[in-house]
């Protein structure tokens, strides 16, 4: 398949926008589950970047795709542990409001 039709910059722009939306959600939302979802969005933006570079710049060795596999693995582990932490937080504080998790605030 010739990839000349879609420029590399289009993929990079989409992933930049997705990353910024993720940061917006990370900073702005008060529900802890939504914060985890925003982190997943940001990881996916990084994955799109890696995949685009791997097929436009390194299209013979495709090491970017291997990196993406590893990022997906780590993201799955992160989601499992993050949600478990969220559950035990909820059990202790009976809320998922980010503003009430302020025990370490100076």
């Amino acid at each position: 398949m010739n990839l000349e039709s879609i420029p590399l910059q289009a993929f990079l722009t989409v992933s930049s926008i997705l990353f910024c939306i993720g940061i917006l959600g990370l900073l702005n939302s008060r529900n802890a589950v939504r914060v985890l979802m925003s982190i997943e969005l940001m990881l996916n933006a990084v994955n799109i970047n890696l995949m685009a570079f791997s097929s436009y710049i390194d299209n013979n060795l495709i090491q970017g795709q291997v990196f993406t596999i590893f990022v997906i693995t780590v993201a799955a582990a992160e989601a499992a542990v993050g949600l478990a932490i969220l559950l035990s937080l909820y059990r202790n504080r009976v809320t998922v409001d980010m503003e009430s998790f302020n025990l370490l605030k100076w």
């Binding site: 879609i6 589950v33 969005l41």
Partner: protein
């Protein structure tokens, strides 16, 4: 797989639109359940982008892991913690919102500037291995990326045990010194004044 150029461009535009609008919905929608289902849609569209990039294996992994595991996990977590609560209003929330949006837009403009102004050294399309990518990934995983591959399996095991330990309720149902059963509720209640913020 060779699709006509116009079809590729149309597919790419539709997928990007779905990704961006879906991500905005995930972040901005009021109901967290809608956000979770939209997140599944975003993950599926990202898998579609991977298919456009000729990476069928990673697309399948994306669907299996993200849509099949992570998204379901998030929906389960929502079901477990979904309690209607009235959030206390924060003072000067508007200042906070404005500064967040400013930060995001600044970062976005920087990133897009880098994307568009940099001259990328593209490889020639002739050296592309195209459909062979699954084979090549397998070769990588069992030769030069063997150590990270094995470490990833250990990491997954650690995450599994960690998640079980963290989410389990009856961690200490027996007192270690006396062997008598201990009420877990009492332990949690005993630490409550420490955890709750004093008004």
């Amino acid at each position: 797989m060779s699709i006509a150029v116009t079809t590729q461009i149309i597919c790419f535009s539709i997928l990007s639109l779905v990704i961006i609008i879906g991500a905005l919905g995930v972040v901005l929608l009021e109901s967290i359940v809608y956000s979770a289902f939209l997140l599944g849609g975003v993950f599926m569209s990202i898998a579609g982008l991977y298919l456009l990039l000729n990476a069928s294996f990673v697309a399948a992994a994306q669907v299996l892991v993200y849509v099949g595991a992570v998204n379901v996990l998030i929906i389960f977590a929502i079901m477990l913690v979904n309690k209607k609560e009235d959030l206390e209003p924060i003072q000067n929330i508007n200042t906070r919102r404005i500064s967040t949006i400013t930060i995001c837009l600044t970062l976005l403009s920087l990133l897009i500037r880098v994307d568009l102004s940099n001259v990328w050294k593209l490889a020639s399309p002739n050296s592309s291995i195209g459909e062979e990518s699954t084979t090549r990934i397998g070769e990588h995983l069992f030769s030069d990326y063997l150590l990270p591959f094995e470490v990833a399996s250990v990491l997954l095991l650690m995450a599994m045990i960690g998640a079980i330990v963290l989410a389990r309720r009856d961690v200490m149902n027996k007192d270690i010194s006396t062997g008598l059963p201990v009420d877990q509720e009492l332990i949690e209640k005993a630490s409550e004044p420490l955890l709750m913020k004093k008004k």
